[in-house]
Symmetry: C2
Subunit: 267 residues, 2 copies
Amino acid sequence: MTITSASNPRVKAVVALRKPRERRATGRFVIEGRREVARAAVSSVGIETAYVCGELGVTPDEVAALAAGGAEIVDVGREAFERMSVREGPDGVLAVARSLDTSLARLDLPPDPLVLVMAGIEKPGNLGTMVRSALAAGADAIVVADPVVDVENPNVIRASQGALFDAPLAVASEAETRQWLADGGITTFAADPDAALPYWEAPFDRAAAIVIGAEHAGLSSGWRDAATLVSIPMSGRAGVDSLNASAAAAVLLFDAARRRADRTPVR
Amino acid sequence: MTITSASNPRVKAVVALRKPRERRATGRFVIEGRREVARAAVSSVGIETAYVCGELGVTPDEVAALAAGGAEIVDVGREAFERMSVREGPDGVLAVARSLDTSLARLDLPPDPLVLVMAGIEKPGNLGTMVRSALAAGADAIVVADPVVDVENPNVIRASQGALFDAPLAVASEAETRQWLADGGITTFAADPDAALPYWEAPFDRAAAIVIGAEHAGLSSGWRDAATLVSIPMSGRAGVDSLNASAAAAVLLFDAARRRADRTPVR
């Protein structure tokens, strides 16, 4: 089967999945890009259909690998593919997959876990970048609390480079997240410019959750009251007194990783 | 004077400045956004003209502050303003300024400087975010080596939140940058996954330049040969074995800041 018309119903169904409401209603989302789809194919994500466009250079080997994973393969002409794509330069592979399981209950924590909580993050690129940083730093769980951006947003998937698919990730309300952390005996930390404790003196090597607040709105008073506040001392050079949310997350997460590496016996 | 037509020559001149070639030819660039223009107005940047749109909510106080700084003020109707703007939701302030001085010669370094070198960075958002992180971490100089993205690109200015304007920032070729670092006795460090030395053991508290390579192309062989390679150990969780360029920069810069803070006597 080859789809050539940009008004084909399957093309329209893929386009409709750009809307969070449609993703929720159908329990499906779109993964775009060769790297991202290849990554999903070797993860626990259930790919139902892979749309491939030979005119955009997709090779028979790539198609065979997707088919071997059980995905239905649909050939698509360039015009129709470009209609489905949200990228400026589409690379010819796009898949429809079943929605991720993002319940808190699925998270299974080791002793002294390191957790990243993203509280109300507004920008898909930041959210995806933080997922990538958290996994690189060895975080045991990632919680998107009070989501503003849907984790299945195409720009989240792209910024995470597909790391999202096998991430120990949950989506929950602020109240649920706080309860879950309390139940697990996990201390909550958040950055605040006025805090007396520099982050490198906080006990990030014990059970710790690092909470990153929204880019504009900042941390809610609930998180602020619940958390031990730590400072990221800044120079004030050129008037800079704050960091991009994903930069702050990287600094805190990798300081935790550094101290956890220090205590790991050399093998 | 009020501009109402979107085809007014001044509107066209502002639109033309979206092109790097036009910026170079005229020695001018555009700063968009209330926060960014306000920041430029209190910096050494020379604002020539401020375009303001009352229909978008700009207040007389904001206009007076810009006029007090010596800028020519031009009122613009909403349609014409939206034509000049590159933002989705323009906030009614936009300025034309004289290009920044970005010569290496203007940089004045203290003893044991901390320098960030961005080598061939491709994404404006990453470049701007790294400028902000470097200044927050107290870097003494920022060098954009072999620029792919122009530092006066609107998305660089936006991601830097205007920190660019008073940054000790230069733009130079790779060869010039390497010579300048050698002349200053500055050791060059770059991240490499195979390096034996974890970054937290590298002497970032002495004269140090942290070099961040391009997002896709990575570090050139010239930089790789010149630099002491350090690793950012990663967990490999969910297959993640690399960091976003600006996240890596934040981790390294703030580790340098942490160790420099440790050695600063408490005042």
